[in-house]
Subunit: 438 residues, 2 copies
């Protein structure tokens, strides 16, 4: 059967402002003809189905059909495919006219990875989003500079603390943890992703008590602290939670955006009544990115889409910590959160999970000062208490910025010394940690 | 290091009404101690973190920590692990106190598959939801019986048509397709998942024109047709779309619930202003279920969670059609949509994707009469037109119900005969189709 020429284009042959371009990794049985298969994807995700239908006219196709703009085999066989090859791998690029779905994330995802997500081994590696498409999104309301302004911290890397234990405490116990972390110099305190609004620790009680402590700390230290309260729930209730919390005086919000929905995060971020920064939490991300042959790349899930939806900060897996994660992935997410993206403001990268003072210089070396050092256990599990835990992290940040080095700085700061004595200095040469119970 | 005994229980040792039980497939390097690793998962997803923190008291743990209730190795080594084994596979069951997250889906997912989704090879196979947890959900407003009542079709399997081509047509062209499909005897017409509210085919124009046709058809045939209009958008806009469409007279809604958010579907389904059935569409599901070592089982994504969220109907991959899909998975989804689930009504299973008349008896044999035969191309791509395409499907359903068989029935029905001549009768012995362009 002849291939339909209208389903193909060169990358130069399309108007890039009219198309979203998706890049896939596809693995096929060696018997499959890749050009036919790629063309099938382009049709399936736009105008057509498995059998010709009369309404799919040439004119309709021209305006609305997807185009295969690149197919690269890995390795790039040219004169023969070795006989013992059972499967073949391809990078396929398809351009989709975004007039088909408009300025919204759910229909974007339904188009670029809807039914074709179920067609065997296929992973969505990247999305090129043209400016005319992105113009329909506001992105982060605050972003890196906005958060720096709230905190009055123009240059230094920020320090964030997750309240630990994750759940099960009362608002009063939580407020005490908040107070110690903030007093020790933490810039942002976030709820754990496992606590939202349970009966034993109501959200509004936390907002009230924590924000009282925030004012107390400011009076003592002159430093502000952002508290991101976890408002995660089904989208309509999440919006109500957020409005109640903001009316109650909270100065930050947190959303488990991958279980609540990426566009539920967007609805919150673009709501005119929400005038505080939003932290997007990574939990559930592995369900999307862990497989090398299905799902979506981690930098899409935790980078580009979160930023497009308006996350001011994103927590994602630290290479150095408790999640097994490739270093190149961890660095790539930060790029997608901070590089030029038309009018969309940069988002604060927050690599997290098992971070302690002994890792700080290595993290900042890679991510730069526009990043957040995030620690839960390293603050509340510090042998001299949470105030000391927070101080140790600020001391590690200062040591990294001044170029002094951790061991030198520890001579002058006993909090940092205790932290390094307990958890050590990260050994760059060692293998990544396996997730395990310490 | 000694294992903390409080992190373990037998299945009989917990109050099953107080816990959600998650079943995982875990693959580990053979050097990892599985009991320690499983205990780490139970702690990570409830009270703890990677290092001990003072607030995690014995009392707090007792109330809020997860418990490992089962660990089964596959194969079940007892006296030795063969030396050449490099990786070991386990089924792990962890019970989570649902007081930690309450009656909501996002926090349920953040708890059972939040950070641990990022800890290497781990797939969430199943969730046991106790009645006291499920009582917080309404489930489908209509379900199978409610939809049968609207249509006045008490027993027979239903026939559904997806308007094809998927996108790019005008509301007038769409209305013509709707009219033909409905006139031919289709019970439900759904939008394609690739069309929502684009400028060339506004949602409200479709509602107006299609519902006019619905009345015309009813006047001619005495049969009602449900039109599920695709309202997918970010949750707040989706709710507005839905209300406008319902006010405009539509008698059904459709949601791409995996890109819009499972709990965005729930918010819609439990909204008192929405008094029409909702069809949940499968697109994007492969991003969750395709990997054997990560993500979630297809029967969770497309079965249990969709039903819990209130889907009256769910479209999922047909084993017989264009999606590569294991038969046991396809059958299992139907079980999860229709079996006893406390007070939650059964959801209509709609296996779709490449379905035509020649498959109908085999599908009904497996799924029973409480299912929906769903075809796009087989209606609009029928050689004698869409009316004939719809008739052929109804004729196939009748042939299956009467036990007459397709070939016999085709002798009396030319529409069915044309369909079988073109697409054939499904050959039960043949391999599943690879997704391909016909």
């Amino acid at each position: 059967m002849r291939l339909d020429r209208t389903l193909f284009s060169t990358p130069e042959g399309i108007d890039r402002e009219s198309f979203v371009i998706a890049t896939y990794l596809v693995e096929h049985d060696s018997s499959v003809e890749i050009l036919r298969s790629a063309a099938a994807l382009a049709v399936e995700q736009t105008t057509g189905t498995w059998t010709p239908v009369p309404g799919e006219t040439p004119e309709l196709r021209k305006k609305h059909v997807g185009r295969v703009i690149a197919v690269h085999e890995i390795p790039a066989h040219e004169f023969e495919v070795p006989r013992n090859v059972e499967t073949r791998q391809f990078i396929v690029e398809i351009a989709y006219p975004w007039v088909n779905f408009g300025h919204q994330i759910p229909m974007l995802l339904s188009t670029v990875f809807g039914n074709i997500s179920m067609t065997g081994k296929i992973k969505l590696l990247d999305l090129y989003l043209p400016e005319k498409f992105v113009i329909g999104f506001r992105g982060p309301q605050f972003g890196i500079q906005g958060i720096r302004k709230i905190l009055n911290v123009p240059h230094r890397p920020l320090v964030l603390n997750m309240v630990k234990p994750c759940t099960g405490y009362t608002p009063e116990q939580g407020a005490q943890m908040f107070y110690q972390a903030a007093l020790g110099g933490v810039d942002i305190v976030k709820d754990d992703e496992l606590i939202a609004d349970p009966p034993f620790c109501p959200m509004m009680d936390r907002v009230k008590l924590y924000m009282e402590k925030e004012k107390e700390v400011f009076a003592r230290t002159g430093e502000r602290t952002i508290y991101t309260v976890n408002v995660t729930d089904r989208p309509d209730r999440m919006k109500m939670n957020a409005k109640r919390a903001v009316d109650g005086g909270v100065n930050g919000l947190m959303v488990n955006y991958l279980t609540a929905g990426i566009s539920a995060l967007q609805a919150l971020a673009e709501d005119p009544a929400i005038h505080v920064p939003i932290l997007a939490h990574l939990d559930f991300a592995g369900a999307f990115y862990q497989s090398p042959y299905s799902g979506l790349s981690s930098h899409l899930v935790l980078g580009k889409l979160a930023r497009l939806a308006g996350a001011d900060m994103v927590v994602y897996p630290s290479y150095y910590g408790k999640f097994p994660f490739l270093k190149e992935r961890y660095v790539r997410i930060a790029h997608h959160l901070t590089e030029l993206f038309y009018h969309i403001k940069p988002t604060f990268p927050i690599p997290g999970g098992g971070v302690h003072a002994g890792m700080v210089p290595f993290m900042l070396e890679e991510l730069g000062n526009d990043s957040v050092i995030a620690a839960g256990g390293a603050v509340h599990g510090h042998p001299d208490g949470a105030v000391a835990g927070a101080k140790a992290l600020r001391q590690a940040v200062e040591a990294a910025m001044s170029g002094l080095g951790l061991e030198e700085a520890a001579k002058e700061h006993r909090e940092l010394k205790s932290a390094l004595d307990l958890w050590g200095i990260y050994d760059k040469s060692r293998d990544r940690l396996l997730f395990d119970l310490k």
